[in-house]
């Protein structure tokens, strides 16, 4: 299964980014192959409006099944994500990526 994290860095020990639309990076973890991919989303800073849906669009290209983030995506982004059927888990804004993954596995993250 592929899991996407919104993060502030590119490592397992990096902090999570609690924001969805304006997250700095995505970290994409593929459980099957045990591999990690990183997407740099920092150009989103230049978008005055509509950061949420734009990020959502990017994210869908990875075909992940689960998204782990801090606060839930806003209305527009949520609408965009709905079309992909991705499962959204929130409440990991204060954790590291590793911590967020473990919390998810332990069933400690709420569904958005």
């Amino acid at each position: 299964m592929k899991i996407i994290f919104t993060t502030k860095g590119t490592e397992w020990e990096s902090a999570m980014d609690p924001r969805f639309g304006r997250t700095e990076f995505f970290l994409i973890f593929d459980e099957e192959t045990d591999s990690v991919e990183v997407y740099d989303n920092r150009a989103i800073e230049n978008e005055a409006h509509g950061a949420g849906p734009k990020t959502a669009q990017k994210l869908t290209e990875y075909g992940a099944e689960v998204l782990i983030t801090g606060n839930g995506p806003g209305g527009n982004a949520a609408m965009a994500l709905q079309t992909t059927g991705i499962e959204i888990r929130v409440g990991a804004g204060d954790m590291t990526v590793r911590g967020a993954y473990e919390a998810y596995k332990a069933g400690k993250l709420k569904k958005a």
Binding site: G21, R22, A48, A51, N71, G74, G93
Partner: protein, 291 residues
């Protein structure tokens, strides 16, 4: 690091005065971010030194190169905002009316139109009198606050807080329910809603809370001027408990808030009684965000 965002829906509830008081109580451990860019008043109480200042660009605007333009009129035809006018025979963009949609540039047969980002104001990084730092912005006249500017102020303040090892970023949030407030809320650990027990205050509180709820952020509420209207206060409390919003404190109506502000002070530096109420509120917030 925790991010505490203070919002109020509408102005006049004392949001900025209370945020400034929190900044003083938090002292050097609290980084301040003023995202109420339309009415950026925080600096009046924080004495920022504006150590670093940078121009900020946002939103595009069209510009027609008269040397290239063949006066075909296509741009004017497609512009839905009546932003292209003929002045002295030249097709000219009205910068106040232009929404920067970019349609005109896409249809111009000779590529005479370019879109460029507008300078809408400046943002600053300052040392402030609490011994901490603050990131703030000022907008040019007629320029609009945007999610982008708010995001900039917030990300700069967070990065700085991280570098300086501060544990809290305190955000004076944007008013209204539009894009800037959405951007203010994004990434928050806790939201403080400042309201007053008036019919319109309750009405605004409900509207802005709809947004907070969408993001699923935990919220607490400060009722300022709480003794103004007992009936509305009761309604308000019912709303808060139904929505599971923590009632952080009730602050009495008192002209001392204004007195303090007039003297460039926050309420906690001015009046002993109110100091203890506001301090209690701040401590309660600390307990919630840092259990």
């Amino acid at each position: 690091m925790k991010e505490i965002v203070v919002i109020s829906g509408k102005g006049g509830t004392g949001k900025t005065s209370i945020t400034a008081a929190f900044a003083v109580l938090g002292g050097s451990d609290v980084m301040v971010a003023d995202c109420d860019v339309d009415a950026a008043d925080m600096h009046l109480l924080m004495e920022p030194d504006r150590k670093i200042s940078e121009d900020f660009y946002s939103g595009e605007i069209a510009h027609i190169d008269q040397d290239l333009c063949t006066r075909c009129g296509k741009c004017q035809e497609v512009c839905r905002f009546d932003a292209i006018q003929i002045i002295d025979g030249e097709y000219t963009v009205d910068s106040l009316a232009c929404e920067g949609c970019g349609y005109c540039a896409r249809v111009c047969p000779v590529d005479a139109i370019t879109n460029s980002e507008q300078n809408v104001g400046k943002w600053f990084t300052s040392g402030i009198r609490t011994g901490s730092s603050m990131v703030h912005a000022s907008l040019n006249i007629g320029a609009e606050n945007s999610g982008k500017l708010v995001a900039k102020v917030k990300s700069e303040s967070k990065a700085l807080a991280e570098r300086l090892g501060k544990s809290v970023v305190l955000v004076d949030g944007s008013p209204g329910i539009g894009c800037p407030v959405v951007s203010s809320l994004s990434g928050a650990s806790f939201v403080v809603l400042v309201t007053e027990p008036t019919v319109s205050g309750l009405h605004d509180l409900k509207r802005v809370y709809e947004l907070v709820k969408k993001f699923g952020i935990k919220a607490g509420c400060i009722v300022n001027k709480a003794d103004l209207n007992a009936e509305v206060l009761d309604d308000m409390k019912r709303f808060l408990s139904a929505e599971d919003i923590v009632l952080l404190s009730e602050i009495p109506y008192d002209d001392k808030f204004t007195e303090a502000m007039t003297n460039g002070k926050t309420i906690v530096e001015w009046d002993g009684e109110l100091e203890s109420v506001v301090r209690g509120t701040w401590e309660k917030i600390q307990e919630i965000v840092r259990p």
